[in-house]
Amino acid sequence: MSCIKKGTIQKYIDGECTLSETVQIERHLADCKKCSVNVEYQRKLASGLRKALSLLSQESKGIPIINVPDKTARTRLLTVRRLAYILAAACIILFVVIISQKKEPENQAEIIMIEPGFATEFDANQPVSDQQMIMTIIDSEGKKTEYFE
């Protein structure tokens, strides 16, 4: 086994190695002075870091009471918001309906039926795009208008 990587040593000293990894590492450490020195060094670093950082959080002020917003207040808020959305949507729909009704020309005949079809008999073996389409529109007075593609 070649020498142990620093990351693996870290895992080892933190007790995060599997049993077989630990066995391998310890077998190597028994014969390798250099890695044994590294293990000691990293152990010291780790405890030094823990000690140093613990200085930053020595005094504790106890646990404050948490102020989670009132559930019913939130539900009420959501209901009000939903209502606002519905009203806004209703206004827009109403507006669109009014506008579209105004724009519609008064004496245009109402279209009753639209019949799509093909000018000649449809040939299933030909591509659809090669065959001429015909659109028959029938209005309320029974007048037929044919549109060719």
Binding site: K44, L49, R50, I63, P69
Partner: protein, 161 residues
């Protein structure tokens, strides 16, 4: 699963220490934690399953601390001496605290969080989940971070051990 109140009581002290080490300024910590627990509350309130509350809470704490650090940057330097020292501290201790603060500030937020969580005794799995680091990389990143901290410490005339 435990109730919200139980989880709150169990993890608040640890999260407080983590957030304090992360953002330096202890006055900002209660707001950060209030935010974290409010998110947590609504998450479970809406039926979301949080399998590992500890990792979840530390991850959200990490994110909120980063937000807080970004905001702080515009207003004040992180971790001034008055912020972290108490009256009972000896002059020597205060200098040491300053040095640690200065060192932590120089680390990338992710490495800083890793060092902080390590000092709190979290497992590699928990650290990976809280920081988004791959589990297989935790050992390597930890040893690198510790070397950086040691070097920075030395540059300021201190020994880490």
């Amino acid at each position: 699963m435990n109730t919200f109140e139980e989880i709150y009581a169990e993890y608040y002290p640890g999260m407080f220490r983590v957030a304090k080490k992360m953002i330096g300024n202890p006055d900002g910590v209660p707001d950060v934690l209030q935010d974290v627990f409010t998110d947590f509350f609504y998450k479970i309130e809406h039926g979301h399953e949080i399998r590992n509350p500890k990792s979840w809470l530390y991850r959200v704490t990490f994110n909120k601390c980063i937000d807080n650090l970004r905001k702080q940057k515009h207003f004040q330097p992180i971790g001034s001496a008055e912020d972290i020292s108490t009256e009972s501290d000896s002059a020597e201790n205060q200098d040491l605290k300053m040095a640690i603060e200065k060192t932590l500030v120089k680390l990338k937020p992710r490495d800083r969080m890793l060092a902080v969580l390590y000092s709190e005794g979290l497992s590699y799995k928990e650290m990976a989940e809280a920081t988004g680091i791959r589990l297989a990389s935790v050992g390597k990143l930890l040893s690198r971070t510790m070397e950086k901290i040691e070097k920075e410490f030395k540059d300021q005339g201190y020994e880490l051990y």
